[in-house]
């Protein structure tokens, strides 16, 4: 790509250099960079900016012109219950983060560093957050653990044991943990895999007991990774919608997300307060992310890998069966139980306890219902359209950005890379609110609000970093020489690009595409603010139906979602394995 390749032009005199630098800026490669940067900046920054603006104006979307003010901040922070809200949110997210990290890293340690025979389970467990969306996890667990009719509680009551009421803070933490533990597990796997086991062996050979070694070497070495995992779990938990709304609200345990949602449901919506809360969550998330990155960098400095690196599993002796039992239990609880519950409920006309007599009522009518009910079929169609459109747009856009940031040496490419990763720090709820505000307020010629496009815009922004995660490493794997060899064999630049570069990049492109489709398809935390009647997506429909009590249809819809997502996730895995893609 000669257009974008960096050519050092020697500048003889200061004066002409200045003039040239202006001309340089008008070269196509800078224009390309500028366009890409503008698009990404528009996507990533404008919604946040609008939300910030709304929080600082006395009037937003009103008929009268407003003024600049801190009134919303003062009102929100001094409102009775704000302290409680912060406390609730931090308690919920903090407890979840700690629980997830402890279990996730524990399981990762068992799989990576010991001879626990659980590798197969581990691989499946790691896929679960991809194929069971948070909203389905929440629905399944509130069915399983509902105080009166949930089968788990029925069993507990039969055994004269105290029941587990899911509608409580503990219930919220539990349900969210079931969804997030696999993510923590993946982080733990990465941390433990990169640790040289001779560090532990050196301690053993120094006479330190296995327990002491675990404490003063293993745990100490993993500490930055553990802390940063806690922070990331915290951010993810504080910014998602489903558990706080479906479990927290009935439990009267309000957190930021549920408060934001209810404030927008009121009439007239309290845009100012929502803006303030959104900014607050955004600040918390950014601070957490920055801290996590600092920790990550510190741990990168700490890993010195020399020759002779080996990650030797530790022999647990008979204890490895205990490890396997832990894994089986986790698998059963976090994976098998919710999915089994969804399948069971989807096959019955009305909810019934699992029993042999209920088997007589098994039916596929709920699945027929999905096809028959106009709203349902429409939502499936909407989801497919938005997910695939977002996947396509993100793949093309990030391919462009990754090319500029990885393959060229244009000045300013670091800025572009930074912009493209901004959405990581923006909780999806905040992104949803921001996009909503911008398209409600913006003096644009076309109105996106009320159409599927607004959902696509939000999904594209949210999944931008995921696309980068696949494409940037994918591109840096393709050595420049391969393209140059094609050019040297007489191919024109375009031929080289199409016949060498693109085919080599294809697996990464495909993986990025499918992965963004998956993420968009499951998304609810932003979509819940952006849908209107007629533009519901499946995840929103699940929430709606569940709120109306149509459990069997919800379950059927859930099963369809899980099957669809499993196929996509399987494809991503296959491609990644087959072509050895490393995702960052």
């Amino acid at each position: 790509m000669t257009l974008l390749a960096d050519k050092q032009v020697p500048a003889p005199a200061a004066r002409s250099r200045q003039r040239r630098s202006w001309r340089e800026l008008l070269q196509p490669r800078y224009i390309t960079l500028a366009v890409a940067a503008l698009v990404v900046a528009y996507l990533a920054l404008v919604p946040i900016g609008t939300m910030l603006y709304a929080s600082l104006r006395s009037e937003f979307l009103g008929t009268t012109p407003g003024t600049w003010t801190f009134q919303h901040y003062a009102d929100t922070f001094s409102a009775p219950g704000f302290g409680q809200l912060v406390l609730n949110s931090f308690l919920y997210a903090g407890a979840t983060a700690v629980v997830c990290t402890v279990f996730g890293f524990g399981l990762a340690w068992l799989v990576v560093r010991t001879n626990t025979p659980a590798k197969g389970f581990a691989r499946i467990a790691a896929l679960v957050p991809l194929i069971v969306p948070g909203i389905l996890n929440t629905v399944a667990w509130s069915l399983l653990l509902s105080p009166q009719r949930g089968p788990v509680n029925v069993l507990l009551r039969q055994g004269h044991l105290p029941i587990f009421n899911v509608y409580s803070l503990v219930g919220m933490v539990f349900v969210q943990s079931m969804h997030v533990i696999p993510v923590a597990y993946l982080m733990g796997t990465a941390a433990f895999t990169s640790m040289d086991s001779s560090l532990e062996e050196a301690a053993l050979a120094s006479g330190s007991s296995p327990v002491r070694t675990f404490r003063s070497i293993t745990l100490r070495m993993a500490r930055p990774a553990i802390l940063s995992a806690i922070l990331l779990m915290f951010i993810q938990t504080i910014s998602t919608f489903e558990v706080p709304q479906l479990i927290g609200v009935p439990a009267h345990h309000y957190v930021f997300v549920s408060r934001i949602y209810s404030a927008l449901q009121n009439f007239p919506p309290d845009y100012g307060t929502v803006g303030v809360l959104g900014v607050f969550v955004l600040v918390v998330a950014c601070a957490g992310l920055l801290l996590a990155q600092r920790l990550g960098r510190a741990s990168a400095v700490q890993t010195i890998t020399g020759k002779g690196f080996r990650a030797q599993p530790q022999d647990l002796g008979r204890w490895r069966w205990a490890g396997l039992a832990a894994f089986l239990l986790f698998f059963l609880v976090a994976v098998a139980l919710p999915i089994a519950m969804l399948i069971w409920s989807s096959l019955l006309p009305g909810y019934e306890q699992p029993s042999l007599s209920a088997l007589r009522h098994l039916t596929f009518s709920n699945f027929e219902e999905i096809v028959r009910r106009p709203g349902l079929a429409q939502s499936v169609k909407n989801s497919l359209i938005t997910a695939f459109a977002s996947g396509f747009i993100v793949t093309v856009l990030t391919a462009f950005i990754a090319y500029i940031t990885v393959k060229t040496k244009i000045r300013g490419r670091g800025l572009l890379d930074g912009l493209a990763t901004v959405p990581i720090a923006v909780p999806s709820v905040v992104m949803g609110v921001g996009v909503l505000y911008w398209y409600l307020a913006a003096p644009l010629p076309v109105h996106l609000y009320g159409s599927l496009s607004i959902l696509i815009v939000a999904f594209v922004t949210i999944t931008l970093p995921y696309g980068m995660r696949y494409l940037a490493p994918g591109m840096s794997q393709i050595k420049d020489e391969l393209e140059e060899a094609a050019t040297a064999s007489g191919a024109s630049w375009l031929q080289a690009f199409w016949r060498v570069f693109i085919p080599l990049l294809m697996p990464s492109l495909l993986a990025a595409f499918l992965y963004t489709v998956i993420v968009s398809f499951r998304e609810i935390s932003a979509a819940i603010f952006l849908y209107t009647s007629g533009t519901e997506v499946v995840s929103v429909q699940v929430y709606d139906l569940y709120s109306n009590g149509s459990y069997p249809v919800v379950a059927a819809l859930g099963v369809v979602m899980v099957v669809f997502l499993s196929v996509l996730a399987g494809a991503v895995r296959l491609i990644s394995r087959r072509f050895g893609i490393k995702s960052g």
Binding site: S198, E201, A202, L204, S208, Q302, K307
Partner: protein, 384 residues
Amino acid sequence: MIKLTGLTKRYPGRSVTANAVDGIDLEIPEGKLVTLLGPSGCGKTTTLRLIAGLERADRGVIEIGGQVVSDPEHRIFVGTHRRPIGIVFQSYAIWPHMTVIDNVMFPLRVNRPRPKKSAARETAMQALDLVGLADFAERPAPAQSGGQQQRVALARALVREPKVLLLDEPLSNLDKGLRGRMRDEIRAVQQRLGITTVFVTHDQDEALAVSDEVVVMNGGHVIEQGLPQAIYTYPQDMFTARFLGVSNSLDGVVDSVGPDGATVTLGSRSMVCRQSGTAQPGERVSVFMRPESFRLSRRQHSEDAWPGTIEFSIYHGDCWDYHVRLDDDLLKVRVYQEKVGLAHGDSIFLEPDPDSAIVISGDKQEAEQTPEEASPADAVARTR
């Protein structure tokens, strides 16, 4: 003293015939430095890890200082942390979250009797002094260069005065100049402390330079064990001969044995070998000769010289390497102090040195495959 008897280890998932360590019997005398020498994958590291208790043996007994530390038959296994050892890994395994002195103090602080912190510090400083790192005590460990890290690892291994020091290719991460210095340093420290040491390496120069005894291994077996000079000059086994760079071998039959050594007929030629061991007349033998142990000249000086032609030549600065064709055989000959080289096709005469010829019974076809990869020169020689 370390004693291994019938030691066998197979890694899980490997086929039954692929023992990483396959019935090793070995005695390592008190206070000596013994190297395990052998090609990559021959089981050196595994043997070392078995001694350390980082791997569990399938069969066989390990004794350290008279105490049985591993004997699967009698369900005896003493954990690594209870064995009186110090170990230096190839990667050094310096704990990056500690300073240099904390690394060295760690073994003292986790063992009983537990010395006071100040006493532990003192001992650690002495160990650092021993390896010449006393000035670096307070630095963070990862900020050390490769050579410094290696010395920290050595100090850490020595600090609690273990009975046995285990070194797994401790020099392979260093550049060439440093390697020689550190090698001599390790040897000096070992001799000063008189500590029983097992040194793993695949570099023969390293092995010859530091050891009291060399143990040559291949395919999980001990091939032979002996003094470095004995192993080098008169290897008892073809594998050892090849591994130590004795590249020429000729097959023949012992003609007669006299007071001057054995006369061996090698095809149409014959030579006298002074060191013929137990060779008997009529026995089939292989005669191994180093490239240096020939006299090469343009004229025939003696009856014993063999006529040949130069196949090709390589100039090394201080010496020439010639590939000399003698009928069907191709010999490598190294000649020092020659200004003008010979060229392809020149006729010459080769006179083998009867003192340095190595006679090994049996045919070379029976010997295990040569461990060395063919050198580029060989490849060229073959294509010519």
